[in-house]
Amino acid sequence: MNLKTHENNGTVVVSLAGEIDLEHSPSVRKQLMELMFDRRDVLVDMAQVAYIDSSGIASLVEAYQMARKNATRFVLVAVSQPALRVLQLARLDKVFALADTVEAALAG
Amino acid sequence: MLDDVILRFATMLDRLGRATIRAVAEFGFAASLFGQALWWIVMGRARRQPVRLAPIVIQCVEIGIAALPIITVLAATIGLMLAIQGIYTLRTFGAESRVTLGIALSTVREFSPLITGILVAGRSGSALAARLGTMRINQEIDALTVMGISPVRFLVVPPLVAMAVMMPLLTLWADLVGLFAAGLYVSAQLQTSLAAYGDELLNILKLNDFMHGLAKSSIFAALITTVGVVNGASVSGGAEGVGRMTTRSVVHAISAIVITDMVFAFMVTR
């Protein structure tokens, strides 16, 4: 798994790549929660996610809930097919804010 | 005619042989379970399945604390009974004043561990057998196994540790209650004070006597758990089977306790 962040106009773009499984999801969770505590607007770029398991999804859920409480933005961007299928299984695609590209998310 | 007798005799021998093999196999199963349980206590962490404290505490409450009222009642009754019989018997020789000796030694060395063991076997040993038996026929034990959770570590170790901790404590409590109850009767009957009775106890009882009873109660703890688990694990044939094995576990556990008690007393007092 690979996690990179960069800033774009005050919004933090977190790029996830590779396999997010039991082993890696705690570190994803930790990074996301830190951003949430700082009340940052966050875009999670999931284009390169080959696999995400339930614990990874759970970390996204927790971060998203916190963003809603803080009234900050938390958008999943360019979700890859494997990740999207897992989201759809639990109907979470209807819950998360999704965007097709980083540019579109930044504009919206 | 003779043929018939020989055939019957042969059948009987055959049955006896099979029963013996089964008994030996069951004994082996029990020994192996006990060994595995000890192994998990020591090696659990290394095998990424540590034995956890929370279920042990729950079992301690279930086995120990919940049994306190009934142990108290029975221990007091046994103490009184010993005092009554002791004074009645010794009166024949005019030696009532020596009654404390008999009460003290028999309570601490024999009756407390025995009554505690029998009670725990009836309350908790049977419950353990019933629980494991129900889990066996409900495939819950298979479910644990295929999850990669050792049933021995998850289901056997907590009650085993809890018994090993609680049985000596319950026995010690039964010692105190039994001696106290006996003291009340003795001091009333012989017109002495409870303090004098207490002094006498302190003179008679050695640490060794307490240890004798407590050591036995630890052995009983292991016996009750193992017998309960073996019977529970061997359940077949639905709910009726659970009932049958539960009853069997109580009978086996109490028999094992009484026989072990005798053997232990014989070995230690020689």
């Binding site: 859920v61 | 409900n138 479910a143």
Partner: protein, 274 residues
């Protein structure tokens, strides 16, 4: 590498020969149905796939590892990668539904409690049991117990899922919803799924390939369509629910009628493990 590989499996129960030279493999991402009537040996086969029984001869490879020869720790590791939904559900009756589902996560992972809670409720959503986490298994209906068992089976996101008689004892509507659940799980997670069933409708609805077991032998192993079109008489009998005229062994029949027992027939093998 196929997730399940069975080679020349032979097993005995006492003196009875249960499985006879069974070989099969389950491919990655497929739904593989093991079908057969009662007494066909399908439950025994499942127990061998799960490593609950030891074969007389032959081998069972699960996710590339021989389940009967690997070490205890490797086996424990392997078992976290497979899920099992038992026929009876086998939920732990002393724990709430939520605790049942969370147990594998609590025992095998170091995940945060919040994460475990979310994953648990997520799985309940997937099996349409949202809001039932705090109930005890005894408060659930048959169909709900099966669903909860599925939720527990998939909580670790296994690569391989085994389902024992998923539709047995359920009314047709609930049974169909369980079939849909199995299909959804495969499509979303790419799991390989092994289903043991005697339910023909369910089998043909979900199966990619079907293995027909009869009296401990593999009668046929092919795609669902090929099985349906099979000219084999015994398979057609099974498909059309015709009972077979069993061949009679006069010696054995007479012995049964006279109440003479075969040697050791009544002896159940002693369980030597918990």
């Amino acid at each position: 590498m196929n997730p399940v590989q069975v080679k020349n499996l032979d097993t005995h129960y006492g003196h009875r020969h249960i499985l006879k030279d069974v070989s099969l493999e389950v491919r990655q991402g497929e739904i593989f149905v093991i079908m057969g009537g009662s007494g066909s040996g399908k439950t025994t086969l499942l127990n061998h796939l799960l490593g609950l029984l030891r074969p007389s001869s032959g081998s069972v490879h699960i996710l590339g590892q021989d389940i009967n020869t690997i070490g205890a720790l490797a086996k424990q590791e392997l078992r976290t990668k497979m899920g099992v939904a038992f026929q009876s559900g086998a939920l732990f009756s002393s724990m709430s539904v939520g605790d049942n589902i969370a147990l594998p996560l609590r025992e095998h992972t170091k995940l945060d409690d919040t994460t475990i809670g979310i994953v648990t409720r997520l799985k309940l959503e997937v099996v349409s049991l949202a809001g039932f986490a705090d109930l005890m298994p005894s408060e659930l209906s048959g169909g709900m117990i099966k669903r909860a068992a599925f939720a527990r089976a998939i909580v670790m996101d296994p690569k391989l899922l085994f389902c024992d008689e998923p539709s047995a004892g359920l009314d047709p509507v609930v049974a169909a919803s369980i079939d849909d659940l199995i299909l959804r799980l495969r499509d979303a997670m790419g799991m390989s799924i092994v289903v043991v069933t005697h339910d023909l409708d369910s089998a043909f609805k979900i199966a990619d390939r079907i293995c027909v077991l009869d009296k401990g032998e593999v009668l046929a192993l092919d795609t669902a369509d090929a099985i349906r079109a099979s000219p084999n008489e015994r398979i057609q009998n099974l498909l059309n629910r015709r009972t077979e005229e069993a061949e009679i062994d006069p010696d054995a029949y007479l012995r049964r009628l006279l109440g003479e027992k075969d040697e050791d027939e009544d002896e159940e093998p002693m369980r030597d493990h918990l």
